[in-house]
């Protein structure tokens, strides 16, 4: 790893622009689209009549196309600028919706051998499922880990689940979505006897070679699943991580105070992003902080100070940049000019302000 001095870091990243999105946006994703062959940002907001509107933004923070969805959707999968697949609450069918927001197809779903393994179609940005299609019409979805609390206390159940592949590949045509194969395997830490963590799920990004990159909250490694289903591991280590993250006490896995304290006092890795313009990867480091304050208040893990690890195209860690704490680590998008980070101090309920940071190595 190259150690970068504070002075050098200032040259690596500095604000160059400010942009406003005139909505209260949620579920932000920023990813390389193999269909668009460039960077795409997507996010939701609720319009004045209560519909959920999905903005699909190519090379921008502003929409190329938009999809208006009935608000009762349970999950969705953006295929490209012309199509989104939606599943509604209490409805097991999948609907293909075009950019005029008209339902064009009802799709059959064939899970085949994957029946035993529930999956979710895209996309909560927190978990950041892989929202990408390939030219050949393949889709990827992270396998959902049902009953997480059960994983924490039921070792056999956990070991059985984590012995299966971590991602499901689907083929898609106009009539059906078919589970095709499982790819990638979970880190060995998940399979060890005493590996009880607060979170097992992972952040994902897909690069231009269509490798799937995964980062885990409490593991200091990046995992790369290649097209041939081979898997590599690369070191990922924050300068603020002073010790190996502890596992949690399984008996306390339903004690939210305990979990909140652990989350606050651990260094964690979040929001893996691939920047297709610069062929770089970014990982947010959420630095450890004290949970309980002298005055009887406690801190929230969501407010932990943060830095940004930058890795090059070969997964070499090139820099760790301290980010201003008033900026939100939870709302990051990538645009041609750099990294867009939400500034809550300049935002209000209906107007989100993003500072664009230049990033160069």
């Amino acid at each position: 790893m190259i150690n970068v001095s504070a002075q050098t870091e200032e040259r690596l990243t500095y604000p160059i622009d400010t942009l406003f999105i005139p909505h209260h946006i949620t579920e932000i994703c920023s990813y390389y689209s193999a269909v668009e062959k460039t960077q795409v940002n997507t996010y939701f907001f609720i319009d004045s009549v209560g519909h959920a509107v999905l903005h699909y933004c190519v090379n921008s923070l502003y929409p190329t196309t938009s999809f208006v969805l009935n608000n009762t959707f349970s999950n969705y999968f953006v295929v490209d600028r012309t199509k989104v697949i939606v599943r509604y609450v209490n409805d097991n069918h999948l609907y293909s919706i075009d950019s005029s927001s008209i339902v064009t197809n009802m799709l059959e779903m064939e899970l085949g051998m994957e029946k035993e393994q529930p999956f979710i179609l895209m996309t909560k940005p927190f978990a950041y499922y892989i929202p990408v299609t390939q030219d050949s019409g393949l889709l990827y979805a992270r396998r959902i880990l049902t009953s997480l609390s059960d994983y924490k206390i039921n070792k056999d159940h956990r070991l059985r689940k984590f012995s299966k592949p971590m991602i499901t590949e689907f083929s898609l045509n106009n009539e059906r979505l078919t589970a095709y194969r499982g790819i990638g395997h979970y880190p060995s830490a998940h399979l060890s006897e005493d590996s009880t963590y607060s979170h097992y799920w992972f952040w994902t990004a897909m690069n231009k070679d269509l490798d799937i990159v995964a980062a885990y909250f409490f593991l200091d490694s990046l995992y790369v699943v290649h097209r041939n289903n081979m898997q590599d591991r690369y070191p990922l280590k924050s300068k603020y991580q002073y010790h190996v993250n502890e596992t949690i006490d399984p008996n306390e896995s339903n004690n939210y105070n305990y979990l909140a304290e652990k989350a606050c006092e651990s260094t964690s890795y979040m929001y893996l992003r691939y920047d297709a313009y610069r062929d770089l990867y970014y990982v947010v480091v959420s630095k450890a902080m004290t949970y309980e304050n002298e005055d009887g208040t406690h801190n929230d893990a969501a407010d932990k100070p943060w830095s940004l690890i930058v890795l090059d195209s070969e997964f070499n860690q090139k820099a760790e940049i301290d980010m201003p704490n008033h900026l939100s680590k939870h709302e990051l998008m990538i645009v041609p000019e750099g990294l867009a980070v939400k500034d809550p101090t300049l935002s209000d309920k209906n107007n989100f302000c993003f500072i664009i940071y230049n990033i160069e190595l």
Binding site: S149, N254, Y256, N257, G296, T297, H298
Partner: protein, 173 residues
């Protein structure tokens, strides 16, 4: 005879503190600290409220919010579950905003913290919780579990007995 009576009274007076000290367990430092936080928070946030011994119900934004929402729906349908049972029901404005203003009408003793500091207080509880207070000290606490919230919310609102296994019993006087 009179001397004997006097001696007996003196003996009893001397023995009483000893007997009571046999039952006395110093609260652990964490409980002492949280109790002090609670007393000070109540004084600062609700200066007109008189803190007395009994149970206090909390509806907090922390923990499993789906569970809190399930309990809210249950309570709106069965307000008698909590009516008159608690010294106060504490909730923050931001939790009211997430649930509904209707929660403020569940009983006459709902205290709403408009500063939202309640959600940041370190009382050792989360979600829907109860603190039992004696002599300005937390003597027991419990927070609703996912199972209770989904299957049997009513049972959670049974008074805390200090021998109850479900509550976290805290060593105190």
């Amino acid at each position: 005879m009179r001397k004997r009576h006097t001696l007996l009274v003196l003996l009893v007076l001397w023995a009483l503190p000893l007997l009571s000290s046999d039952n006395y367990t110093e609260p652990d430092p964490a409980t002492q600290k949280r109790s002090a936080f609670f007393v000070s928070y109540m004084k600062e946030t609700f200066p007109n409220f008189q803190l007395t011994d009994g149970e206090y119900l909390f509806i907090l934004s922390s923990g499993c919010f789906r569970c809190t929402f399930a309990v809210y729906n249950y309570l709106m349908a069965h307000p008698e579950t909590v009516c008159g049972k608690y010294k106060a029901i504490l909730i923050s404005q931001s939790t009211v905003d997430k649930l509904s203003e209707n929660i403020l009408t569940i009983d006459t003793n709902v205290l709403c913290d408009t500063t939202n500091k309640l959600d940041r207080m370190s009382f050792g509880i989360f979600g829907v919780s109860v603190l039992k207070i004696q002599n300005q000290m937390i003597v027991a606490s419990k927070s609703i579990t996912v199972e209770e919230a989904q299957k049997d919310p009513a049972s959670f609102f049974a008074p805390i007995t200090l021998s109850s296994k479900t509550s976290q019993e805290l060593p105190t006087q």
